[in-house]
Symmetry: C2
Subunit: 372 residues, 2 copies
């Protein structure tokens, strides 16, 4: 019984999870593109296997330590979408991928990055695939699309005996700052045009561009089409969260992840729960924005028709739920929809998965704590 | 060599740590009060032992799972300063404390809480100490000091055959919203007056008040005195952070914790590092405030005299460091002072401790992931 669980606990609705995974798979299938979803959201081998079973060609990870977990688990294709500049990390992930026969793609956006990967590849006597990251507007990593950096790097990669140029990729994370769904569509359209323009220019220079990859849940969900692209790498979509609701990407019913917390104290304004920032995280928006007003939306587990209550503030181990004069009782369980599912999972060691018939299973967060 | 470390990594300066621990111990000793520092900041048995060695009577924890770690480690006295309302958790912590002979204090601020602890104590045939939490202004947990709730609860505890009333405690977390050091002193003064007034009233009603305990780094550091109080429970002081600097509690040189990150990409505005919100946390202030403008302050590890650069934004695995036209090179290490040390440690599995002579040791974050 959920209402009896020791809390706080991260709960996953299996039906909603499966539906979200199926929806992304259908987007990929109907558009004839490949899928390497980002596992940063769930860090779970079990969920990666569901994504593969639904048709994903492999997965994307952010960290070397994450890559090692998913290589070890037998995932056959992995994109490590963070520019590695430490030769030891590159050597380690190359060596493990080679041992397990994993198709590995690394990324670079600088000559330093290309050379570090090249040196590690040469030292291990292998050939390593590199995609060039393109900055399509987030202004984080990636070559400037107005420069000829992509061409220069692609040449450098192609000329290296131990490197293979695997194409280009981007992340349109600035879509999270969009005010409307139309604005997100425009971000997706501009990204597609930028990447296809660069790919065309590379091909004119006799450089093959096998993969043109984008990844970001809002743009993948709302894009008008994927013509010219070959791959998508969304992450958050498996769970969704209040951020995606605020963006108009989904409805609340499509959120698969919630946190069950217990009311431990009640005062005239707040029900205080046992889920604070060490469970929900302090994220109020992506990339440092404070788009969302609070830290989650709480409903009463056994009285779900009662009005939703905002989590207005967080201490490390306490949540402040504004009860608006209708306080839940001490000991009562609340279900909290978080702002950002990815950072909630990052704080958890296990996910409690509930199926339609109320069976509960515990799934480990396999890549928990993989920061390097 | 720090400049060669694989990153991101949480680095602790042993000298500064020791000095901070000594300073709090000296405050306690010179004021003739006991100390049970809060381990939520470090979650480390090694550091708890340093605190005990410096004179602490025991430690304070927030979670049952944390309590179990520190009981198992042989810490002789533990205050679990979160109102427990789940009888299973109470039974578990009582049973472990009894087995190890740990002096355990629980807290309550409601009849539900007192009764849950009473039932668990009765079921295990033990006597359990309870302190009553008083709300001194944060408006989180705690009885209303203007009501007679403390008296009612103290009577209920005293009358229960398996409960012992151990006094009162408070946390003046609203000190973190203070605009000036004087305002923090006023918060400390008001807290002291509130608690001593309640203690006097309890004693007038023939209820002994063995412990009167406060805990919060800014108020402990800046308070004019502790007359009438018997115990302090500061937590953050072991490491300090930019929040304490912003409050005027300490200088930057008194911050013991930093994050070493690597520059993985550089564009015209930002040096992008491998430490994002999954390493630094998104905390910009306590209890949901956005007091601090950014997410940390970065300096160049091998060029520490270069101007400090603000971490202006965080993705999950990337930090945006505004380089102001003087970009560090790709591959270079940055040392980042975080906004909030407690939430940084909460995301780490190990702490890398550096001593004056450059010896490095790895300390586990023993209570990592203890959310329940």
């Amino acid at each position: 019984m959920i209402a009896d669980l020791e809390t706080p606990v991260v709960l996953i609705d299996h039906d909603v999870l499966k539906r979200n995974i199926g929806r992304a798979a259908e987007i990929a299938r109907s558009n004839g593109i490949a899928m390497r979803p980002h596992i940063k959201t769930h860090k779970s081998v079990e969920i990666a296997r569901m994504q593969i079973a639904a048709g994903a060609a492999g997965v994307t990870v952010a960290k070397t330590a994450e890559a090692l977990v998913f290589i070890e688990a037998g995932i056959v294709a992995i994109t490590l979408a963070h520019p590695l500049v430490d030769e030891r990390k590159v050597a380690r992930v190359i060596s493990e991928a080679t041992r397990r026969g994993t198709n590995l793609r690394l990324i670079a956006d600088s000559t330093v990055g290309v050379d570090v990967i090249g040196a590690a590849a040469a030292a291990t006597g292998t050939t390593v695939e590199i995609q060039i990251k393109v900055d399509v507007g987030l202004h984080r990593c990636g070559v400037d699309p107005a420069s000829d950096a992509a061409l220069q790097l692609a040449r450098r990669i192609s000329q290296h005996p131990n490197l293979a140029f695997a194409g280009i990729l981007s992340h349109a994370g600035h879509a999270y700052s969009a005010a409307t769904a139309d604005e997100i569509r425009l971000v997706a359209q501009t990204e597609k045009e930028t990447l296809t323009r660069i790919a065309t220019s590379l091909r004119h220079n006799d450089i093959g561009v096998p993969v043109i990859s984008v990844g970001c849940t809002p743009t993948v969900w709302l894009a008008d089409g994927f013509t010219g692209l070959t791959e998508i790498r969304p992450g958050n979509y498996v769970f969704m969260d209040l951020m995606q609701v605020a963006l108009g990407v989904v409805e609340r019913t499509e959120i698969a992840l919630s946190v069950i917390a217990t009311v431990v104290s009640v005062n005239d304004r707040y029900a205080i729960t046992d889920a604070g920032s060490k469970v929900l995280s302090s994220d109020r928006g992506p990339h440092g924005s404070t788009r969302l007003a609070g830290y989650g939306a709480a409903s009463r587990l056994l009285a779900p028709d009662e009005p939703e209550m905002p989590v207005v503030s967080l201490s490390e181990e306490h949540g402040f739920v504004a009860h608006g004069g209708r306080p839940p009782r001490i000991g009562e369980r609340l279900r909290i929809l978080p702002n950002h599912a990815c950072t909630v999972v990052n704080l958890a060691r296990t996910l409690l998965v509930i199926k339609g018939d109320d069976t509960l299973s515990k799934w480990p967060v396999d890549a928990h704590g993989c920061v390097t």
